[in-house]
């Protein structure tokens, strides 16, 4: 009798250890804190500093640019440029229509554009954030115009529709972090 009991227990243990684990699990976790995304503080020689996400890669750009980055998307990569122009660099309507033309979109009046413009606050003060999408050609821009005293900074991210949507939060964080180099 004792032997039978012993064998039964042993068989149970063996079957338990061989048995299929539940290989599908579900759980919920609080959203990760935004600050957990590491940001690098950069202090180039342009007179400005900023914080960019780690996965943005500095690229060659052009002489006109203060900074230039390749921004990886899930399906491609985008190009981000930061340039500085004297004065206002042209009025808001002409700048936006210039970008619309680059995307193959028709010009608009300022009142029509307003739905794509929001005002954000950064270390240099208030700036305009402009989103432009061309669904037919799957191309888009995210642009920021920052008045800085007698000059204006222009930040432009170009890419596909998906990539621009994925990168909007990082773009806004980058623009808001731009500050004078102390």
């Amino acid at each position: 009798m004792a032997i039978k009991v012993f064998f039964s227990i042993l068989l149970l243990i063996i079957v338990q250890s061989c048995g299929q684990e539940n290989h599908v699990r579900t759980y919920r976790l609080p959203k990760p804190e935004k600050s957990s995304q590491k940001q690098k503080v950069e202090t180039p020689t342009s007179g400005f500093s900023w914080e960019k996400p780690e996965n943005w890669i500095p690229s060659a750009g052009s002489n006109m640019r203060l900074a230039s980055f390749d921004v990886p998307f899930s399906d491609a990569k985008g190009d981000l440029s930061l340039i500085k122009l004297s004065g206002t660099g042209g009025d808001l309507e002409s700048n936006i229509n210039r970008w619309r033309g680059q995307l193959g979109l028709a010009s608009q009046s300022l009142s029509e554009m307003k739905k794509n413009i929001t005002t954000k606050e950064g270390k240099l003060g208030k700036y305009q954030l402009i989103k432009l999408f061309n669904n037919q050609s799957n191309s888009a821009f995210l642009c920021a115009i920052m008045p800085v005293g007698s000059q204006t900074l222009f930040v432009k991210l170009s890419g596909g529709l998906t990539g621009i949507q994925e990168s909007e939060t990082d773009f806004i964080s980058f623009c808001s972090s731009i500050d004078f180099l102390e």
Partner: protein, 373 residues
Amino acid sequence: MNKIANFFKHPKIFVITIIWMMVLVVLGTIEQKHFGLFAVQERYFSSWVIWFSLFPMPGGRLTLIIMLINLSFFFFNKSIWKLKKLGIVVLHFGGILLLVGGGLTAMFSSEGNMVIEEGDKSNHIEDYHYMELAIINTSAVDFDEFTIFDQPLLIKNNILTHENLNFEIEILNYLENCELDKRTSSPAIQYKGMLKNFMLKELKPEKEDNWNRPGIIYKISNSGTSTDGMYGIFLGQPVVQTISVNDNNYTIVLRRKRTYLPFSIGLIDFKKILHPGTDIPKSYSSDIILTENRAVRKILIQMNKPLRHKGYTFFQSSFIEGPDGETTVLAVVKNYGRLFPYISSIIMCVGLLFHMFQKLPGLFRKSREKIAV
């Protein structure tokens, strides 16, 4: 039943199983050089059956089970329950305890590592060997909902479904080791995501499995949206794949299997002490903060002085030096059977001592008789 009992309690069974374990140890030691430690451990010691070409032989697990049965049957002998056999009984009991502890470790233990940068914190352990496919619904405001499919499910042609997901994932290929290659021409198939511009090129698996970079090619279907299509994913992908299905946003990640802890560990400072006059590290230590239910405790984890908390043991394993600071790597183990080797060794020693002291008077007497003769 008596015939079975008589077979299993024969002392020869113990001798055969011990010899076979020695053979497995030798084979495992030799093969470990070519196939790596983990692969050899899985093949020889964690298996029930080992196939040598077409011939099946008992694996380590089966051999030790037979050894345990053999030792257990010793206690069914009525003749051993005498005071003069006490040492032998205790010794056998210690041996059984050692095997039971090994069984608990094999069935219930887990190990991994925790990598924490200075100033950062972590609340999860990552497995050394196993992967998981995580589908994360990020639609809710204050939480993310995770649906995890473990590595045994990530096999070719397997279809993954769950009530949390309003689509299916079919695994088209699981690559044990791969690298990313840029496409030089447009693909014939309408790929989505990363696969539009890149492809996953299969590589020969490395000797140590944690040097591999696994990848999956999969198909999303039955979402009823344009999200359906073929995608690719690999371990450590810098930009994660996101999809949107019927107002739900998902992130899809292939990552090392995670175990989330009921507490978090933050690294304040990592210290490295060098041998004087050299660049050779003498010791490492991590100044950490353990946060649990808003209670905060400062602790120092050093080499040979691990942190033990809630059944987990955190060892100072190694570190990574970077331009922005140092990162500590803690080896984390949860082992329900960790005390069994100590307890069983002490019991076996006690058994041997009992047996020795019981036998000694008889040995002295025989020796005196021989001298007298």
